[in-house]
Symmetry: C2
Subunit: 524 residues, 2 copies
Amino acid sequence: MTVTGSILIGNEDVTTSSTFQAFNAATGQPFGPAIYEAGAAEVDRAANLAAAAAPAFGATTPEARAAFLEAAAEAILAIGDALIETAMAESGLPRMRLEGERGRTVGQLRLFAAEVRAGRWLDVTIDPAMSDRQPLPRPDLRRMNVPLGPVAVFGASNFPLAFSVAGGDTASAFAAGCPVVVKGHPAHPGTGELVARAIRSAVVSSGLPEGVFSYLPGTTHDLGGSLVSHPAIQAVGFTGSRGGGLALVELAQKRAQPIPVYAELSAINPVVLLPAALAEDAEGLGKAFVASLTMGSGQFCTNPGLVIALDGPDLDRFIAAAADAVSCAVPQVMLTPGIAAAYAKGVAALEQNPAATQVAVGLPGEGTAGTAALFKTSAAEFMADAALGHEVFGASSVVVAARDHDELKALLATIEGQLTATLHMREADNALAAEVLPVLSNRVGRVLANGWPTGVEVSHAMVHGGPFPATSDSRTTSVGTLAMTRFLRPVCYQSIPDAILPPALQDANPWHLPRRIDGTWVAA
Amino acid sequence: MTVTGSILIGNEDVTTSSTFQAFNAATGQPFGPAIYEAGAAEVDRAANLAAAAAPAFGATTPEARAAFLEAAAEAILAIGDALIETAMAESGLPRMRLEGERGRTVGQLRLFAAEVRAGRWLDVTIDPAMSDRQPLPRPDLRRMNVPLGPVAVFGASNFPLAFSVAGGDTASAFAAGCPVVVKGHPAHPGTGELVARAIRSAVVSSGLPEGVFSYLPGTTHDLGGSLVSHPAIQAVGFTGSRGGGLALVELAQKRAQPIPVYAELSAINPVVLLPAALAEDAEGLGKAFVASLTMGSGQFCTNPGLVIALDGPDLDRFIAAAADAVSCAVPQVMLTPGIAAAYAKGVAALEQNPAATQVAVGLPGEGTAGTAALFKTSAAEFMADAALGHEVFGASSVVVAARDHDELKALLATIEGQLTATLHMREADNALAAEVLPVLSNRVGRVLANGWPTGVEVSHAMVHGGPFPATSDSRTTSVGTLAMTRFLRPVCYQSIPDAILPPALQDANPWHLPRRIDGTWVAA
């Protein structure tokens, strides 16, 4: 499988009159062939093809849909090392990280396959008729979830596999029975095309209609705008910047028929160091914190950009250990020149902010390598200056020292919506932790203890989401099996003859689904 | 219990410098005491009180919350006949209808109580730690749903009990653990106050913080706008006009922190008469249709405002029977002079539309009584003129004749989002019904056969919702137990010590909840 630069609309390779170029993230040199720019015409073709495919794909059996997800996983593995090498060049991420990310991407598709087979997501609920009920009989009522229809997916730059063409948004939309049109990220178009071809091959080998998947690479805002505004598109998944995500939300609301946008926007992922934990292991925490902060050049949505603790000698020890670690941090190539420039600008703003003191800076780097940075401020100053709480995407973090428990709690109560919050605690911290936990859980999608927020498990219980501005919709997650509920809606079938009911609702239960009958769940 | 005209903020009766007046719907005469107008200051007090109550109310045990819902039901019944008489005067609806509606309202609160106790809504999902997993261990992950926070509820005029102060939005928000601030509908402020006092008494007798419920009557758009824009409000439930609902959606999106709005907007609820059903019982269907159309002066969200069938002698028989029934329809008082005027305007627009033929008109009425009206048009004309598909809230409907199966299906594919669609069919219609069913289910929240859309069961399988513009959010329902999921969001707890975990997630399962452990649901 080789990269051609084509746009993939259903089974067709499409070219246009305009192209752009991928770059090697480390060298800044052009990489791979010219990539054709998709535009409004390609959006229209892909979206209409998706709409045409939606009824048949939405009606596939759980087994057929699961097999398709598994075929996509196999096809991605079958690309082999070309995928890893292309992604390494385009993203600057190291081999081990990308091999891990491929494993995550493939595992995610397989987990959704298993979830589709389990059938719970259909939420089949049957209230049988009660023909003798007084004063009025109850009709036969049967409810199930149905797919929303074609979904537009905007991949992220920082996970060229797991949050991109075949990432969590695409996998969960497929699992829900929705065709997908991917707007390919311009930072990794070669990687994107290889994965897109793998998905296409799974569509073909699974005998599904071609409109189930299209891939539209491009660099323009117009491309994304056309896609979100197209009448056939029924929902949007997005991972990226706050500005970009909010622009799509606004477009989606302005449509004649508004549609949901699931946008992951920004987060600084506060880490709270409680006194006993800090006293016991300030140095160890400082080192571990910097390992989490600098991993992948800090380019994670869940990067710990804020550390909060009570002021005092233990916090000083933590800061000293963290400062040591930051000072030795070897700069890593960032994903794109744009991201590197934004990171440098964010760090410069903190350096120039009189309310923040720079306590350490990493080793200097060349080109687009990001130099780690650590700052310190007081809780009073942090609460007085919103700029100190802005996300700096990369390996920069701010340590906030609170005077006492009350100021600590007051500070936590002012923090805006986040993907995660972390507590470091020992048993002696339980009383304070119990007070702080509800405050944090009220502001985040995931709260964790004695770990670091980077590293997001793909599982049933995971929530990768959170209140605004972490995401545009706090009611969901973009990682884990629950993500597929984003692309479903309930429909009630009342007194419909069994002969024409969808199989999921038929009396004989041909799909062997768990069902809630008259209020009680019954296994298949 | 008597109506005082007060605003109810928590436990306090509040008055302002401005008042308005309720009217007797039948006579147009002033009814009851002057009602104090709530404004931005009252919104601020109520919303802040709700925010203060949210953590404690959100942490109540299922048993305590269920008992509160049941206490509210008891307190509503304890108002006795004063409630029915007040509602009759203010709404013009007959006693039997309002007694039925009270039963529905009370039954709804009790059903939510049972659902809260069953505990499934918490969606407790536990992925146990796998400390030996390679290449990385899995942490302990536990997910549950938490309430969004204070909810603003805008009641409907057409159900002064079941979709108003203690209606489905309020009941489901309470069930989810969210405090509620009701914007009282100015068409039934006396009814609203009586129910609000009943809820307040349940809050007090249940030992809950007073901010769990407040009631703000008023006539101004500013009141509703202030409420939706208040930072403490976290979600909105609305039943009313398309214009009003969309204005609230826009306000909610413009907030610094956007919030979800669940607005039920408009619907014409197409009824499709398939050939065999029509041939067998054209006259019976015509009569039954008009009974559904004119019930309650047609003032139902699910009123059948559109009938679709193949042209021919059977449809002529249906129209003749329906026209006979409409001609004898006795006008009924409408809810408000404004609704009556809007209805008359909608009917006049159809009368003046050259594409529609008036086939029958009901008996003339006095004052605000609504005279039934029936129109006919062709599928071609209907598809060419969107005005024929606009909702006319009241007892007016349009019969659309299609040339053949293809035109029938083409027409159905153009219909915008609806609350319901209805099929009348016999076994001989199965093939056509099987083709039409997916088209309809793609556009509605509920599809039913051989019945009429009016009459919405409150149960587990019900969906009272549907794609835009039926509602602002197709992923939900405003009736039935599923409605409470609108006010919840998931939170993941990772490696949190059992001692400080919320009870719902603790190993010992003190709330005896069903849980999904490592992918498998386990009964309590």
